[in-house]
């Protein structure tokens, strides 16, 4: 099966994150100086500007912070998925992650709904962290 949607492009900041995803590990960063846990990946801590960074594996649990249901595709490759949910999930560890909510009826999605990571392996190299309701 070929995957026709745009693929992530790995750079120095995101390499560790995508390598984690490939193994179905949700890796985020923790500042070695102030302890601030962050996502998306960045070279320095946005709080204290330290370059001391530790990668930690998030539990993959959180809750829906906000969401929308896209009924129009602005990239043709997503046409077949319509309608689909784009959401901001607040991870238990703190950071917000932009993602999709899958595995439930669209009308069931609510703010504050508990969700957990649901991996979607799209190619041999990439898995995407999507989220589904905790049953």
């Amino acid at each position: 099966m070929t995957y026709n949607k745009p693929l992530p492009k790995i750079n120095a900041d995101t390499k560790e994150f995508w390598n984690g995803c490939k193994q179905h590990l949700l890796k985020i960063q923790k500042c070695g100086d102030c302890g601030f846990v962050r996502y998306p990946p960045s070279f320095i801590c946005p709080r204290c500007h330290s370059t001391e960074t530790e990668w930690i594996v998030a539990a993959g649990k959180g809750s829906v912070y906000s969401f929308t249901v896209n009924h129009v595709a602005f990239h043709p490759a997503f046409q077949e998925d319509l309608p689909y949910v784009v959401a901001v999930v607040q991870l238990e560890e703190g950071p917000h992650m932009l993602t999709n909510i899958v595995g439930c009826d669209l009308s069931e999605v609510r703010c504050d709904m508990p969700v957990e990571v649901a991996w979607e392996a799209i190619t041999g190299e990439f898995s995407l962290p999507k989220f589904r309701p905790v049953l």
Binding site: P6, L7, P8, T68, N70, H71, H75, F78, V86, P129
Partner: protein, 400 residues
Amino acid sequence: MAQGINNEVAIIGMGCTTFGELWDRSASDLMVDAFQEALEDAGIEKKDIDAAWFGTCFDEVNVGKSALSLTKTLKLPFIPATRVENFCASGTESFRGACYAVASGACDIALAMGVEKLKDTGYGGLPDFGNLLGSQNRAIFANLTAPGGFAMLATAYFDKYGLSPEEGKRALAHISSKSHHNGTLSPKAHLRSEVSIEKIMNAPIIAWPLGLFDCCGVSDGAACAIVCRASRASEFRKDPVYVKGLQIAVTSGEEMAHQKWDGTHVIPTYRAGCAAFKEAGITNPREEISMMEVHDCFSITELSTYEDLQISPRGKAVEDIEAGFFDLDGTIPCQTDGGLKCFGHPIGASGIRMIYEEYKQLQGKAGERQVASPRIGLTHNLGGFPCMSVVSVAVFGNTL
């Protein structure tokens, strides 16, 4: 200590084309029309202009890089001319360049022009942001769209303030219906029909909870302004409009990464508003602003802007909306010309089109949509997403 440009700059002439699907006219045609109107309005000649600023966003689909297309089209005589681009604030950014030039004393008279031709791209929304969103387009941007980004602002707002989807959508529909009504009184607008609240609420969904009429249109257009030092304005006309405050705030990125932002409003709008009010000497915006043109790319953007500009208290915008506070006959009419909702959004032109409306209103020349005895007008642009944006806020008055 910096004093800002309050009362240092006057607008002495403006021009604005009709906005719409202008298949038969090029960006150059639009610039010429806007410029001709502004020259006649100011009563000056081309040779009186000392410097020019040119706002256009998408050089790929428009007029190319640099300010060459401006100077060649208008045949400006070897004067300094600068192209600027700052997302949806590009038009206001060009106006800022012209204002700073005369405020500093470097120029006597300066021109700001904004233009965009989008319909020819064949695209219904903004052109492809693929390169802008960069390397993590699938994970960080889970095919998030512009409507989707603002829709999440609405979802978070409804949730925070306990609005049901029905209540929230009804308030947003009031905003769009009000703007469409104003658009019917606005001869240069693109969309000029009444649209009822019921029709708006039942329209096809684009990105839930936002439907078709929660989104602004796409159009072609140009607008321009001629400014001079305020002390010389009376040489040109008896009713100049003065720039009271003009500020731009660009995010530091902390909304996305610092986790303190609650996703229900736009921090740079609040910050740009505070800075512009300080510069303009405005201490109570709700009492002092007469009318305003805010960036209604989506209805929810307009709602959150009411609160970020401190017109409505946090969480209270819906009460004001439903009381008709922002309607044409309300306390602070908003989008008196129909806004982006009816003009569409030719990005480089929009900011100056908004200033054009405040200018005409403050001169008492807004025809059927004239606000009674206005004193202070405001314009606002927001480019980007709620979580990372460029915002301009400008304040104008008809007395020093």
